[in-house]
C-alpha cells in the first residue's frame, strides 16, 4: 500500500505538518453536513475523498520512517522522499505518459460504453438477440483481455495505439453491457401498467420510463468500466507497442534500476485511475439522486 501513499504529497508539499492538523477538522465538518437534506456535490466529493487521503498520508509517513530507520536498500523499497524527489524531477515526463495512457483508456472507455449500450438495447428488445449475445459476452468477460495484447500488436503493428484502445474498449464493454441490460429490464410492473393505462406509445414508454429506469445502472457499469479501461490500457503497454505510456515508462525505469522513478510513474497511474473513478462515481451519484 506504500505505493499508493505519496499520491497526496504532490499537492501538499509539507505532508508532516498539514494532515494531522487539517484532516480531523475537515472530516468533522463534512460529517454533519452529510446529514442535511440538500447535500451538495462538493460536500459529497469531500466525504468521498478525504478519509482515504488521510489514510494514505499516515501510510506515507510510516513508510518513510520504516525505510529510513531500518536502512532498507532502494531496490527493495524506495523511500517516499526519494519517490517525491523523482516525481518532481520527472514531472513533465510523468504527465505526458499519464496523458498518453489516459487518452487510450478514455477512447477505449467511450467505444466500449457506446457498443455496450447499443448491444444492451438490442438484447433487451429481442430475446433471440439476447440468446446470441449472452454466451459471447460471458466468454469475453472471462478471457483475460490483456493477454491478447501480443496478438493485437502483431495485427495492428507495433507503432499503433489501436491495440491498446481495442483492449481497453473490450474491457470496458462487459460491465457497461451487463449493467445497462439489467437496468433496461428493471422497469417496475406498476410503471408498465401505468403507461399502458395511459395508452402510451412504445417510444413514449422507452423515452419516459425505460431509459430513466436504466440510467443509474448504466452509470454503475460505466464506473466499473472506467477502472478496467485504465488498467487494461496500462497493462497492455507491458507487452510492447509504442513507448510513450505509463506502462512502458514503468518497465523502462525498473529495467534500468531506477526504482524511485518507476514508483513516480506508478503514482501517475494511481492518479489517472483516481481521476477516472472519481469522475464516473460523481456522475453515478448525480444520476441516482432520486431513487
Amino acid at each position: 500500500m506504500t505505493s499508493a501513499a505519496p499520491e497526496r504529497v504532490e499537492t501538499t508539499p509539507p505532508p508532516a505538518a498539514d494532515p494531522t492538523i487539517a484532516m480531523p477538522g475537515l472530516a468533522a465538518s463534512a460529517a454533519p453536513r452529510r446529514r442535511a437534506a440538500g447535500d451538495g456535490p462538493l460536500a459529497r466529493f469531500a466525504k468521498l475523498v478525504l478519509p482515504p487521503v488521510a489514510l494514505f498520508i499516515v501510510l506515507v509517513l510510516l513508510a518513510e520512517l520504516v525505510v529510513v530507520a531500518a536502512g532498507i536498500p532502494p531496490f527493495v523499497l524506495a523511500s517516499p522522499s526519494a519517490i517525491l524527489d523523482q516525481l518532481v524531477q520527472y514531472a513533465p515526463q510523468v504527465l505526458a505518459a499519464t496523458l498518453a495512457t489516459g487518452l487510450n483508456a478514455l477512447i477505449g472507455l467511450v467505444i466500449g460504453a457506446v457498443i455496450g449500450v447499443l448491444l444492451a438495447i438490442a438484447a433487451s428488445v429481442g430475446r433471440p438477440v439476447d440468446g446470441m449475445l449472452a454466451p459471447v459476452v460471458a466468454a469475453v468477460a472471462v478471457v483475460p483481455i490483456v493477454a491478447l495484447a501480443p496478438v493485437f500488436y502483431t495485427m495492428f503493428g507495433s507503432t499503433s495505439e489501436v491495440a491498446r484502445i481495442l483492449i481497453a474498449s473490450i474491457a470496458a464493454f462487459v460491465p457497461v453491457f451487463l449493467n445497462t441490460l439489467r437496468g433496461l429490464r428493471q422497469v417496475r410492473p406498476v410503471h408498465r401498467d401505468l403507461m399502458k393505462s395511459y395508452a402510451a406509445t412504445p417510444s413514449q414508454l422507452t423515452r419516459l420510463v425505460t431509459i430513466p429506469s436504466a440510467l443509474p445502472h448504466f452509470f454503475t457499469g460505466l464506473r466499473i468500466a472506467s477502472s478496467l479501461a485504465v488498467i487494461s490500457a496500462l497493462v497492455a503497454e507491458y507487452f510492447g507497442g509504442p513507448r510513450q505510456g505509463l506502462g512502458s515508462a514503468i518497465t523502462t525505469a525498473a529495467a534500468s534500476s531506477a526504482y524511485a522513478r518507476a514508483w513516480a510513474f506508478v503514482i501517475g497511474a494511481i492518479l489517472l485511475g483516481l481521476v477516472f473513478f472519481v469522475l464516473t462515481s460523481l456522475i453515478e451519484r448525480i444520476a441516482s439522486r432520486h431513487r
Binding site: S197, P212, R291
Partner: protein, 310 residues
C-alpha cells in the same frame, strides 16, 4: 380527455343493491340491459371469466361468472379475502388484462377503447410515481403523454396540487415525500384528465391507520368535487363501508361475486369523521362482515366497534 358520455343524475340504487342474492339480481339487470342502457353505466361486466394458465397445464380460475354494473357517479367497493380476484377484476376493467370469457364495457365502449380514449384514471396500491420526476412532473405525465400544451399543463397541475393539498411540494421529488403524500400525488395524477371513472386498487393499503382515515375523508371530498364514478378495491371492511355507495363482496376459489350491500351513508360531501362512530356505519360494517363470513360467525352490531377484519 374526459369521456363523451352524457353526465347523468345519480341513479337510484338498483334492486340488486338491496338483495343478498346477488347472482340472480345481477343477471336480471344484465338481461334487461341493452347496448344503449350500457352507455349510461360507468362499468358493465357480463359473464366475465379470467382463467390463468398455471404450472404444468394446470389452470387457475381467478374470476368466474362476474356480473356487475357500476352507475355513473357511483362509488363501488370490491371487497374480499386475498385471492378472490378483486384486483384482477379491476385490471380487466382497466384493460391491463383481458378476460378469457365474457364482456366488459366502460361507458358503453369496450374496455380497450375506453383505455385508448382515456375514459378512466387509475391509482395502484404502490403510488408508482416516477422517482426521477418532480411531484409536478409526475402529475402532468398523462397530460404530457396526450399532447396538452405547456400552459394547460401548468394550470391543471396547480389545480390538482391544490386539490390534494400539496401545493408547497410541486418541486419535491417522490423520495422526499411520505407514503401518504406519495399516494396523494398518485391520486392527483389519476385525476389529471378529469376522468368520469376512477379505478383504485387498494390505494391506501400500505398506509398507517391514521393516514388512511385522513386519506379516505379526502378521497370523499375529491370525489364529491369531481362527481366521478369510483371502483375501489380494498380488503378493509370499515374502509369499504365508509367510502362506498355499494359494497360488492367477493369470495375466492374461484373468484366470484357473492353479495352486494347498499351502504350509502349520505352524500359523499356530507360524510365526515363523526360518521365513523355512527350507528349506521356499524350496521354497514356488520352487514359486510356477515356477507363475508356468514351470519353465524359475525358478532352483534354493537360489538363491531373499531373492528377491522383484513
Amino acid at each position: 380527455m374526459s369521456s363523451p358520455t352524457p353526465s347523468m343524475p345519480a341513479p337510484e340504487p338498483t334492486p340488486a343493491a338491496e338483495s343478498t342474492s346477488v347472482a340472480t339480481a345481477a343477471t336480471a339487470t344484465a338481461g334487461t340491459a341493452t347496448a344503449t342502457a350500457d352507455a349510461t353505466e360507468a362499468v358493465v361486466a357480463r359473464g366475465v371469466e379470467r382463467v390463468f394458465a398455471g404450472a404444468k397445464g394446470a389452470e387457475v380460475t381467478a374470476l368466474t361468472g362476474i356480473e356487475l354494473a357500476v352507475h355513473d357517479g357511483e362509488f363501488v367497493s370490491l371487497i374480499g379475502p386475498s385471492g378472490c380476484g378483486k384486483s384482477t377484476l379491476l385490471r380487466l376493467i382497466a384493460d391491463l388484462d383481458e378476460p378469457t370469457a365474457g364482456e366488459i364495457r366502460v361507458f358503453g365502449k369496450t374496455a380497450k377503447q375506453a383505455r385508448i380514449d382515456q375514459s378512466y384514471g387509475i391509482a395502484f396500491q404502490q403510488a408508482g410515481l416516477l422517482p426521477w420526476r418532480s411531484v409536478a412532473a409526475n402529475i402532468e405525465l398523462p397530460l404530457q403523454l396526450h399532447g396538452a400544451d405547456a400552459a394547460t399543463r401548468r394550470s391543471r397541475v396547480a389545480e390538482l396540487l391544490e386539490l390534494v393539498g400539496l401545493a408547497d411540494f410541486a418541486k419535491h421529488y417522490p423520495d422526499q415525500l411520505s407514503g401518504g403524500m406519495q399516494q396523494r400525488v398518485a391520486i392527483a395524477r389519476s385525476l389529471a384528465e378529469q376522468p368520469r371513472l376512477l379505478l383504485m386498487d387498494e390505494p391506501f393499503g400500505a398506509l398507517d391507520e391514521m393516514t388512511r382515515e385522513r386519506m379516505q375523508t379526502e378521497l370523499l371530498r375529491i370525489r364529491a368535487e369531481t362527481g366521478a364514478a369510483v371502483v375501489f378495491v380494498t380488503h378493509s371492511i370499515p374502509e369499504a363501508v365508509y367510502l362506498s355507495d355499494r359494497v360488492v363482496v367477493m369470495s375466492p376459489r374461484p373468484g366470484r361475486i357473492t353479495d352486494e350491500i347498499d351502504v350509502r351513508l349520505g352524500d359523499a360531501a356530507d360524510r365526515g369523521e363523526d360518521l365513523r362512530e355512527d350507528a349506521a356505519f356499524f350496521a354497514g360494517v356488520t352487514a359486510v362482515r356477515e356477507a363475508l363470513h356468514g351470519p353465524e360467525t359475525a358478532p352483534a352490531a354493537g360489538a363491531a366497534r373499531g373492528v377491522d377484519v383484513r
